[in-house]
Amino acid sequence: MAIKKPTSKLLETLPEDLDMEPSESDLETESEAGSESESEGDEDVKLAEPSKTAVYNKEAILDKLGDISWPEDVDWMHKLSLDIDQEQEVDVNDDLARELAFYTQALEGTRQAFVKFQTTGLPFLRPDDYYAEMVKTDTHMEKIKGRLLSEKRRIEEAEERRKARENKKKAKEVQAEKQKERAKQKKDEIESVKKWRKQRQQSGFAGGEKDGDMGLSFEKVKESDTSKKNKRAGVSPWDRSGGKAKQSGGKDRKGGGGGKRKSREFRDSKYGFGGKKGMKKQNTAESANEFKGFNKGDSFQNKKRKK
């Protein structure tokens, strides 16, 4: 939370008819508009130059000081006050630097104090088993703990998400690379086939079987690549979709796996081979020899009654 914010030059733009303070130096001072600082909510603006009518009665102040202060020889243990030297001037508006300055002052002070305590030999550190009323209740500390934990979790989740995104990007890149390679390979192979055909043409179709073997070998190699694509040529006679059923893409194959595969092979394995209509009830040799459905649930019912 920003506590002090530099303001617009408030005191600079004073209309001429303003008559605030009795000191006549006011208008000049405000038009100079030197150091101004604002604190949150409660705007706290300083005058650029001190107003000339301020009272400062140093002797009286020192008198009063003498009146109220404790006697000189009071043991330090009563006062417990330490004076810490501040090395640098701290800019009020820089929150972090200011808080850091306070922190170092406190740290320095406690160090000095602890050294003094150690010399006295009295106990000054709270043992772990000392339970007493604390200034903040337990429920409040629970809230604080909950908040800290949730913040930590949020940060961790954000980290994880970022990492996952980056991994995905990388994976995509790798995938793209692979695809390119495969496409290139395919192109090369097709080129080589074409070349072979040309060669064959040129050399006048000599030696049939050998070339046939060569041709097949190419196709076998390509099987794995084209299996994922839509196989127009490979339509089986019993294929009800006419070969136009969508085959799963390469990415789905990877992403799905297991129960989610939509590919032909998976569905075949699960539901059997979809065939012609009405092939379920048929008089085949096996079905004619079955006695299954004759006595409807006979044995089962008998078992029940026996029990």
Binding site: R98, E108, T110
Partner: protein, 310 residues
């Protein structure tokens, strides 16, 4: 209780005269009491500071919580009911402090539901200071995660610029007496586990309260590297004091010091409003100026003006 007090009053002069006190332990209501080792450093000094903490009516919730936080942090204070803030508030407050037999007072005055003024005074005839309080953060904020014993004596740290000017010296003395818990106070707890920071930055007094967490095994010895590994966790509350005036008497009296840089929040707000109001006036002025300018420098007649007029 009364018996005890009388007992101790009688004892002190006896001890003064005769260093070696009587052998037999005295009998008190609570059992046998040993001789003056447990007495206050006999001829010495006993801090009998008691602070009265009150507020005015119609105080904001935030400032009320600040006041309650301070009450929980100072075990030697007495919280009192709200005080009507009318003309003679100085006199009434002094009477109140007398009534409660306190030696100093922290009075939170909230004006217009927006501005908090803190009066810090030593009664009965000590000086008093009026501060404007800014940047208030109470202990209930979840970002301030520290905790400490309620009533343990704080360590007070002051920045070195408290010794530069007499008025800062006076303030330092007052703060030491008011915010420092007396040594053998009934409600004070042993061990020192928190530290107050008072530092002057930009002519304001900034207050912070940190919990000391230091790895240690025994109650009176720090581990060897302990001093380096000590960390501070902020407990709160936090506020910033802007001294306005220092008076010679309690809640009144001759002005000993006036802060030359102080601008009251009312003035700041009115300035802002005037600035905003000035926008319209400026616009009107600018218009008239433009008109005058146009009148004094008339444009040449344009030859082509009528060309497309048919």
């Amino acid at each position: 209780m009364g018996k005890k007090r009388k007992h101790s009053d009688v004892e002190v002069p006896a001890v003064k005269k005769d260093e070696t006190a009587a052998e037999r332990p005295k009998r008190t209501l609570l059992g046998w009491k040993d001789k003056p080792e447990t007495q206050q450093e006999s001829t010495g000094f006993r801090n009998r500071e008691k602070v009265l903490v009150t507020c005015s009516r119609r105080i904001n919730y935030r400032y009320r919580h600040l006041m309650l936080n301070l009450v929980s942090v100072l075990p030697h204070c007495k919280k009192d009911n709200k005080v009507e803030s009318k003309a003679t508030k100085g006199a009434t407050l002094n009477e109140l402090v007398e009534l409660k037999s306190c030696s100093s007072c922290l009075f939170f005055e909230c004006r217009k539901h927006k501005d908090l003024y803190l009066w810090m005074s030593k009664c009965p005839n000590g000086p008093s200071v009026k501060f404007l309080v800014n940047a208030v953060h109470t202990m209930e904020e979840l970002k301030l995660t520290g905790n400490h014993l309620k009533g343990s004596r704080p360590l007070l740290t002051f920045s070195s610029n408290f010794d530069k000017d007499p008025h800062w010296k006076l303030l330092k003395e007052m703060i030491t007496q008011i915010f420092g818990t007396p040594k053998e106070h009934r409600k004070s707890k042993p061990y020192h586990d928190h530290v107050f920071v008072f530092s002057i930055v930009d002519d304001h007094i900034w207050f912070r309260n940190y919990q000391i967490s230091c790895p240690h095994t025994g109650a009176d010895k720090i581990d060897r590297g302990g001093l380096e590994k000590m960390t501070l966790i902020e407990v709160g509350p936090r506020f910033c004091l802007n001294p306005i005036k220092i008076f010679g008497g309690s809640f009144g009296g001759p002005t000993l010091y006036e802060n030359p840089f102080y601008v009251s929040p009312n003035q700041i707000r009115s300035l802002e409003k005037r600035q905003k109001a000035g926008k319209y006036a400026k616009k009107v002025k600018a218009k008239t100026r433009r008109k005058m300018h146009e009148m004094t420098n008339p444009l040449e007649t344009d030859e082509f003006a009528d060309m497309w007029k048919e």
